[in-house]
């Protein structure tokens, strides 16, 4: 077991985890943050995307112990004080959500994009979310939502 300390959505967390536990398992099973989903377990679908020190990663391919000392942000940290972020609002308004299973990961990829590039080009948007598979929407409304959220600031 390894003792780790990290920040998750701004809260300090301390835990003892086995080396083989993924960050995704840690978030879901230990912290009950079930917004990040396992869609494949091998980093191919992006449903488990979270931010690790502001960059998006697939939490299924990160060990919890690797996140020791780092800052983790999940979909649960996106709405501040119960208010949807402009990005979340844009997803609702653009009809970018159908079954919703890919949505948390999709929004985290988009969040990371807006953090590094507040006014992204279409090409940047596509590159940023191409690792997030969605089977329902055909992506068009998702791209529109991210475009609409462009310029709404890095921080929610």
């Amino acid at each position: 077991m390894h003792d780790i300390e990290l920040r998750v959505n701004g809260h300090a967390e301390r835990a003892s985890v086995p080396a083989g536990m993924t960050l995704l398992e840690f978030l879901r099973d230990r912290l009950a943050l079930t917004g990040a989903k396992e869609g494949c377990g091998i980093g191919e679908c992006g449903a488990c995307t979270v931010l690790l020190d502001r960059t998006p990663v697939t939490a299924c391919l990160v060990l919890a112990v690797e996140a020791d000392g780092l800052d983790v942000r999940t979909i649960e940290g996106e709405a501040a004080d119960g208010e949807l972020s402009a990005l979340q609002r844009a997803f609702v308004d653009a009809g970018a959500v159908q079954c919703g299973f890919c949505t948390p990961g999709m929004i985290m990829s988009a969040r990371a994009l807006l953090l590094r590039s507040p006014h992204p080009s279409d090409e940047e948007i596509v590159e940023a979310i191409a690792g997030n598979l969605c089977r329902c929407t055909g992506y068009e409304a998702i791209l529109a939502a991210i475009r609409a959220a462009s310029g709404t600031g890095g921080e929610p």
């Binding site: 879901r28 943050l33 079930t34 917004g35 990040a36 989903k37 396992e38 869609g39 494949c40 377990g41 091998i42 191919e44 679908c45 449903a47 999940t74 979909i75 649960e76 996106e78 709405a79 949807l84 979340q88 997803f91 609702v92 308004d93 009809g95 959500v97 159908q98 079954c99 919703g100 299973f101 890919c102 949505t103 948390p104 929004i107 948007i125 596509v126 590159e127 979310i129 191409a130 690792g131 997030n132 598979l133 969605c134 089977r135 329902c136 929407t137 055909g138 992506y139 068009e140 409304a141 998702i142 791209l143």
Partner: protein, 781 residues
């Protein structure tokens, strides 16, 4: 009623979107119960083998293992239409990936470790992988006991001592004579590989066997009541003892219809002393163990006059059911009665065979056989048009169903069916059909345009029914209870709009259950076949009317007028012409209280229902009858650019028209069209199972089974929703959710011919496939 619609037709955002964008929406995948165990599976490495021995001693010795089951422990067969499948393979395995042993343990890691310790000895037996081979005499029988299987009698016709699980016949006129005397004939063959639905949430289920014999289930399913009913049939339990919860579902597309993992987790829970057991399929199991879309081999003959009228169509459809055909038989049936396309065909003969093979089995998938059948039909129609020297759009115009025509099952086409030709014209216009493509930037690229028609009706039992309850709250708002599942398509939002419209409430004052629970939400067959907004819509209208009746009755007493003189508007009731006297619903919802304390009325709870009307079984020998509650027609027009050096196809634009009857929610309908088109592009260009010579699936993961990403979209997508009303549809609406996916491959295939002059007959149209065909063409003299 001429009142302008206040809510129906508006692009109301999904009611569940906030939960979904915040990550708080709970899926079966996310649920955990106190004391819950986790299950894992041992699956077969062989496509066909006898199970000689199962040794679970080492696995059972592992601390934390609470139950181990093998097929020998379970003597039931499962199935909705055809009871041919077991929970765990018994005596034999019939496909690689079939569950053989299941373990429930304290943790998933222990369950998986236990599975690694299970030893199964197999004796491989002769397998059959191609359904055409499986139809030959002497082919190994996938189900030697087929004769003894229970099935829906009079609807499905398994052939004993063969691999044919169902043979659907459609006979109209004299097809052989008509083809023999036709001025122009065409025969062509087409193939579709099996593909996967790929819902982002894999199948997941939890069950708890309670000590008094009841069972509680939480499942990622499209079918709460069908799960309950089949659990009852399979295990001999009273319906009321089975409670099925369906929380948010992460996509289904047909793959989560019927019964899937629920029996497995139930028997494990029983074996584990009643602790709840959860099983979540891995992505590999989703591909390799859970059902897929069946492959298809089509042979199509068309006869026509030189003037371009179709006189006959003869087709043989051989479906690759895989190892089990519970749903496959119905796909083979539905695709047969739609199997001549949306055309007036005076002489028609269709034989649709659903054939067992030793591969992962098939089920419903968005379009229910129609994408597959129309891949062949719509490509053949194009070929026939060329043979006749006609423009493919014009040839279609001359043959599309119009008022007064009869379909191949003998149904009369009416104005209420919608207008297929308007769909065709709309897409033709959108892609500037008839105008050659602008030349590509590179000399090694070619461009082309194609069009294709589509149609589909819900495939469902003749007595399919649905119900809804609306309860008014203390504040006068409405709560809708239904058991249709909104797994993304948006039907709950549409039902809220309908209720708001009917009850004269603002949309924000209409709520709907976000999950289904057979203990509380009323009966619905299952959410498949693009039927729920239609049937559920009717049920909600009736439930709303029931509520209004109760409101009017109470208000009538208050005002001392007849109930029919009461107007309900703006969440309030008043005597006609006296809106200033209005009583808000909130003062009536639980009963009206007079100033002196006396009360009348009572809680307003409305009930509505709908049952399919006028449907008949199809005559066994001719397929004549009325199978369809409604038909939805549509068309795609597409322009492609092909890189002749790499074989890559880029979709420059695709226009997709569907005659929706009435668009209930424009934003959601658009979402269905775009999503369906992109899924159709997946089927067209990339998707398909690849098997090795031993029948092992070679691409059971996202590494080698590619679905469209955000980089793979057409440059332009143009959804077109037409509104030629369905007279018996709610507000004139008909279903549109599956349809946009159908015929996308056909339109692309037709465009490819235009670009390259090559007839493509099989899917997917991968770069490799395109290059192979170009090479073939290049080497021919």
């Amino acid at each position: 009623m001429t009142r302008a619609l206040s809510c129906v037709g508006k692009s109301v955002p999904r009611g569940d979107a906030v939960e979904k964008v915040t990550g708080s929406a709970r899926y079966a995948h996310d649920l955990a119960l106190p004391g819950m165990l986790h299950a894992a599976l041992v699956t077969s490495p062989h496509a066909s083998a006898r199970i000689a021995r199962v040794d679970v001693a080492d696995a059972a010795a592992l601390p934390g293992v609470r139950a181990i089951l093998a097929g020998a422990n379970l003597d039931v067969r499962l199935g909705l239409y055809m009871r041919d499948k077991r929970i765990l393979a018994r005596d034999v395995v019939r496909y690689q990936g079939e569950p053989v042993v299941a373990v429930a343990a304290d943790t998933l890691d222990i369950a998986r470790e236990a599975c690694r310790r299970v030893r199964v000895e197999y004796e491989p037996t002769r397998a059959v992988f191609d359904p055409r081979d499986a139809m030959k005499s002497g082919a190994p029988l996938v189900h030697p006991d087929l004769e003894s299987y229970a099935h829906l009698e009079g609807v499905f016709f398994p052939k004993s001592n063969t691999n044919v699980a169902h043979h659907q016949k459609i006979r109209k006129g004299d097809v052989d004579a008509a083809i023999a005397s036709a001025e122009v004939t065409l025969e062509a063959r087409f193939d579709n590989p099996p593909v996967q639905h790929v819902p982002m949430e894999t199948h997941a289920a939890i069950a708890q066997a309670l000590p008094d014999g009841r069972v509680e289930i939480w499942t990622s399913s499209q079918s709460p009541y069908t799960v309950r009913h089949l659990m009852s049939v399979v295990f001999g339990l009273p319906h009321a003892s089975i409670r099925v919860h369906v929380p948010y579902v992460g996509g289904g597309f047909g793959g989560k219809a019927g019964l899937n993992l629920e029996p497995l987790v139930y028997v494990l829970s029983k074996a584990a002393g009643g602790r709840p057991v959860k099983f979540v399929a891995t992505r590999e199991q989703e591909f390799n163990t859970l059902p897929s879309r069946q492959g298809l081999h089509s042979t199509i003959e068309i006869g026509a006059t030189r003037a371009g009228k179709i006189v006959a169509l003869k087709a043989t459809y051989v479906w690759d059911a895989g190892a089990y055909a519970d749903y496959g038989v119905n796909v083979g049936r539905a695709a047969a009665y739609s199997g001549a396309g949306p055309y007036a065909v005076p002489n028609c003969s269709i034989d649709s065979f659903v054939v067992y093979t030793n591969k992962v089995y098939g089920t419903a998938y968005r379009g229910f056989g129609h994408l597959e059948v129309l891949w062949g039909i719509e490509r053949a129609i194009d070929q026939m048009a060329r043979k006749l020297g006609l423009d493919p759009a014009e040839f279609r115009r001359r043959n599309l169903l119009t008022v007064g025509d009869t379909t191949i099952t003998g149904e009369t086409f009416t104005a209420g069916h919608g207008k297929p030709v308007e769909c065709l014209d709309a897409v033709a216009k959108a892609i500037e059909w008839g105008t050659p493509s602008t030349p590509p930037a590179s000399s090694t690229k070619r461009r082309g345009k194609g069009i294709a028609m589509l149609h589909k009706a819900p495939a469902m039992p003749t007595s399919t029914s649905c119900s809804a309850i609306i309860k008014l709250d203390e504040d006068g708002a409405a709560d809708i209870l239904v058991s249709g599942v909104d797994y993304g398509q948006g039907t709950y939002t549409v039902l809220r709009q309908i209720a708001a419209e009917e009850l004269r409430l603002p949309i924000d004052a209409v709520h709907i259950n976000s999950d289904c629970d057979t203990a509380f939400t009323p009966y619905d067959w299952q959410t498949v076949a693009s039927r729920f907004s239609y049937m559920g819509g009717h049920a909600v209208i009736e439930a709303a009317a029931d509520c209004l009746r109760q409101l009017r009755f109470a208000a009538a007493q208050v005002f001392g007028v007849a109930p029919e003189k009461i107007v309900c508007e703006n969440a309030s009731a008043y005597p006609d012409g006296e809106p200033e006297r209005a009583i808000p619903y909130r003062s009536l919802a639980l009963g009206y209280v007079y100033p002196n304390g006396n009360a009348i009325g009572g809680p307003v709870i409305g009930h509505g229902r709908f049952i399919a009307r006028g449907l008949t079984h199809l005559a066994p020998d001719t397929g004549q009858g009325r199978p369809a509650q409604f038909w939805t027609y549509g068309a795609h027009g597409v322009e492609v650019e092909v890189d002749t050096e790499t074989g890559e196809i880029e979709i420059l634009r695709i226009a997709s028209a569907v005659d929706a009857g009435k668009v209930l929610n424009a934003g959601l309908a658009r979402g269905q069209v775009i999503g369906g088109v992109v899924q159709g592009i997946g089927s067209a260009l990339w998707e398909g199972f690849r098997f090795d010579k031993e029948g092992r699936l070679k691409n059971p993961s996202f590494v080698d089974y590619k679905i469209p990403t955000a980089k793979d979209l057409p440059r332009e997508m143009v959804p077109i929703l037409l509104e030629n009303p369905q007279p018996d549809g709610p507000y004139g609406a008909r279903g549109v959710a599956e349809h946009p996916m159908i015929s996308v491959p056909s339109a692309i295939g037709n465009a490819l011919y235009d670009a390259l002059g090559i007839e493509f007959a099989s899917l997917p149209l991968s770069p490799e496939h395109v290059i192979a065909r170009l090479a073939e063409k290049g080497t021919k003299p």
